[in-house]
Symmetry: D2
Subunit: 339 residues, 4 copies
């Protein structure tokens, strides 16, 4: 039984685990005030090419709750209906007291027009005040933002005094996608805050929150602690980020995930299997006959994502840093066997 269910099925990639083991005995200060955290932050700042506050957080949901929790109580965040915060975080954003203004996306992506429409329809103190835009790159549908798109969104945010926050749980997958034209430097220029995902890219856990806008930096460690997202052994996260960032392992991991997924996607397309959406990263969404799915599930784990029509269901197949070409080939063989 092999799983294409997600990109967090295994532990950590080798370099991460080795780094943890190698530096395990060293005594450090607690709560992220250690030299590893400093070093990891420096690596991030070098990659983005500018000053920033960098904090290491236990996971993606706390990152998002923290970012949106910086808003004033009556302010809201705009995102697409398929956004992770809108669907898959059990109300963690609302738990901080904030409303999500959800708008329809196009291929999982928000548009400047949709943002502006929300802003213009919120006119007075009887409604929440939109103050932040939330995007994910790569998106929940495996698509990516291109430079012109991110620039347009960023410009619209500036026009209406909205913070732009980017959920980078799969940012490395976006950066290594075939058609990508964005760099970390671009993202750091165009957003107010974003995070570089570790959990879905070979770390045991942890994300690197990058705060660029001066207004959002103040007392952020108070927020982290209050949210319960500050590890006593903060170095456990930052050590992993050193391992991921120092030799571009984060890109290498993501590239492996993307390449295997796209290799699989092409194989399926070649067999006449349609895709629900043209994703470019490590998640693909083939539309499979129900009978075939039933057979495949005997040997493989994957998510039934949603009914497509009477006889077919969209499934989600995810490759990760740990997926090997032979895993994909085996899946294709099984598929060939059944059709």
């Amino acid at each position: 039984m092999y799983s294409f269910e997600n990109d967090y099925s295994e532990g950590a990639c080798k370099k991460v685990l080795d780094y943890l083991a190698e530096h395990n005995e060293v005594q450090t200060a607690g709560y992220g005030l250690d030299s590893y955290s400093e070093e990891a932050a420096s690596l991030v700042k070098k990659l983005i090419g500018k000053e920033a506050d960098v904090h290491f957080i236990t996971g993606g949901t706390p990152c998002n709750a923290l970012a949106i929790g910086l808003l004033r109580p009556y302010q809201s965040v705009i995102c697409v209906t398929s956004g992770h915060i809108n669907v898959h975080e059990t109300g963690a954003v609302e738990a901080t007291g904030h409303k999500i203004d959800a708008v329809e996306g196009i291929n999982g992506k928000i548009t400047p027009e949709a943002i502006e429409k929300v802003v213009l329809s919120h006119t007075d103190e009887h409604m929440v005040q939109p103050r932040m835009v939330f995007i994910s790159n790569a998106t929940e549908l495996g698509t990516i933002y291109h430079k012109d798109e991110l620039q347009a969104i960023s410009a619209m945010c500036k026009k209406h005094d909205l913070y732009l926050y980017l959920d980078g749980a799969r940012i490395a997958n976006a950066l290594t996608a075939a058609s990508n034209d964005l760099t970390l430097k671009d993202i750091a220029e165009l957003t107010d805050m974003f995070y570089i995902g570790g959990t879905k890219n070979g770390a045991l856990l942890g994300e690197a929150m990058v705060i660029l806008n001066e207004d959002l930096k103040k007392d952020f460690r108070y927020y982290i602690k209050r949210q319960g997202a500050m590890l006593a052994k903060g170095r456990v996260i930052s050590q992993q980020f050193i391992a991921l960032l120092q030799d571009d392992t984060y890109l290498e991991n993501a590239r492996n995930a993307n390449e295997n997924a796209q290799y699989l996607r092409k194989a399926l397309l070649a067999k006449g299997i349609e895709m629900f959406i043209d994703s470019e990263t490590n998640q693909i969404f083939p539309i499979l006959p129900d009978a075939l799915i039933k057979k495949l599930l005997k040997d493989y784990q994957f998510l039934e994502w949603g009914r497509y029509d009477e006889k077919r269901t969209t499934v989600r197949l995810v490759c990760s840093w740990a997926t090997r070409k032979e895993n994909v080939d085996a899946f294709i063989d099984t598929l060939n066997h059944y059709i």
Copy 2:
């Protein structure tokens, strides 16, 4: 420079790290729904000798916020003024909307009388409704609850329909203290909910929340997710707990911490140094002359805990699973050198 600042200065104990490495490649389901989490939960249930819901949580602050967050919005939690939730969690409990009714403790411990006084002074809907008692074992001051004390507190809680929740960040240190007469089985009998701490006892991170009261079990995974305290790679925590629990490593780790601290304590007492409190576990609180502290800080890290009198300060010295007798001996040597 050696640090006695806390019990989370190093990474993980060897058995934990080895277990993680050994099982790193195995694919599992995400979010704690994996076989390791099942196995770790079984180990816990075997240790407590009864049924329970066991969840693996990222840290102590989220554990406490989760437990208290189970109360109805207008209900409060009673704890001692020195309680971790009252002092050192940056309002994480209040962030869930609940008031803490803090009472003076005796040696860091709550008394049934203090609990009852709070209950009787909250008479109607103009005041919060006390509904839970929070205790830590070992306490913030390194003291421990004995069986008769815990029984009396538990009885008082039952009398007034209060949940009893025990923060077990250092539960293994309590269980291995010289005068301890409590077992995990006792604690599971006498409380409604408690957690077994991993972070401060040799894990990279993580705590095992044990829910005993049927009323508190429902939908707890929703709470965890909403709090942002559910790891995608849930197995990272449960694997560590298997390593800690399967061969009583958790007790061995704690015993090492306690023994080194008590060895140091006796050495200091022998030199005529007074203790602020007679702690029995891995934290000791000697009262040192300011001039001496200044000298010691050149070679050692530790916490200046509070001014004692004009010329002396109480300091906190903490030993851990990682402390070796030679570290303590070296400290004593340095001290001897200065006095």
Copy 3:
């Protein structure tokens, strides 16, 4: 300058003001524990024909926040996108930590199908758990629920273990609408909780919250106090409700509002002016040429509700208990003058 802007432009109807003045000197207990509150609650229970807990609340937004605030932290409320809680309460529901699952309505009304779709798409602890349905009667668009509709919604709620809560800010307008076939008794049978609006029906302030479901009654006064929605002089609200309910003044007030609005609606239709929606109560939504609106605003106040097409805007005209036929006639005269 006469205002059709809303139904809370004036103070209180005569009977309410007289009752307040007449009973002003009487000393009572505070916080709603007085004999007037008891009497007003009895009147409500007589009208609904069954036992209930009745509480008098300062306004509609606190009523809604209180009702939804009864849910467990991870649970959500379903309502139509045009619902008051979703648009016009500045995130007061999210302030209690709860997500709103908004669905498209039909004429401002929710359908059982839409409810079920939300329920079925929320499958596990990574998403909020829908637990309540929020409806308004009359709706924000002046439409009303008929008996078969409310029965179907109630049945769907029972099927999926959802509470049904009805915002009755304009419940009297619904009950006195031409096609209405619901009674307060029906509403009390079919919902778990609802409120009878005072503010928009001739009271200075205040709403009567009616809790029917036993599970929701416990400690509700704690919730009210915590929300800041409990008046020290609770009798100020209950006295007004006695005046409104004892001689069916609440129906008389609403009937006056509806009749004037419908009289105006027919007059406008007769002139060939289209309506945005066929509302039956005291709010009508004519589509007027922009040039005409500009002229009318010299003598009348009303809300420009939304652009309809390039040259026309939908406006909202509201009549109230205080509107007199002569006010409407004067408006029609002015309109005739301009077209």
Copy 4:
């Protein structure tokens, strides 16, 4: 049966009720954006002799929740243990996510030293960050702050960058107390925000929130709406404040309350009855034998405030704008009859 239980036992004072009745028919804009609210705000600004934002709020608890809710999530408010927010608001402050740092008061009043001690003991992001001081004038114990005391507190707040917020539920009673040397102008100079109480001084409901610090003014109407503390008929509160403020009726009402209470206090002292505290305003706290209390309760309502010794209980007797000398004389007569 006559009640000395509190100062909100009756409806409104005559001038308030007359003003409401006289202006009842006038149409105004909703939600406090009307000319009455403007006029009432002007009256307040004239009284304090400076610019301010003035908002009319439904009650004292929402005022306090709003003021403290302006803080950043991780910030706390300092008050005395007997403070209304700490005891009698059912966790309404914690409901906004903020911790209260309670300190022992002297005669119900906070001291600069106590404030500083809290500030100095909160040193880093593991603890909440004290950011506001909450005081009441008159206090919960009927005592008042003198000018030098308020100046010292204000200076301490400035020293440590704390906002000073004054709960003025009984501010008029303080201003008319015998030893008072403060004016509204002084209070407006020395605090960042305070409210002038209406509810306990002859209004049906409502308080006037006065924001002096520029930093706290922004978007306050969003906060009010979100808290559910904005009346649709905002004029209902502001009209009452016009009636109270335009001819110093608020002082007259308070003076009547104080004088009757102090008259009663002297009569009791003359009989050798001790007071629990030397209050100067409209609340007095005599220590009465239990047997006597039992007899008095046959004809009078008042609060048994707390057991004093084995045979005596402290009671609270409150006079109000509505108390007449004959009511007090009758009480004294009854007392004479029993002792």
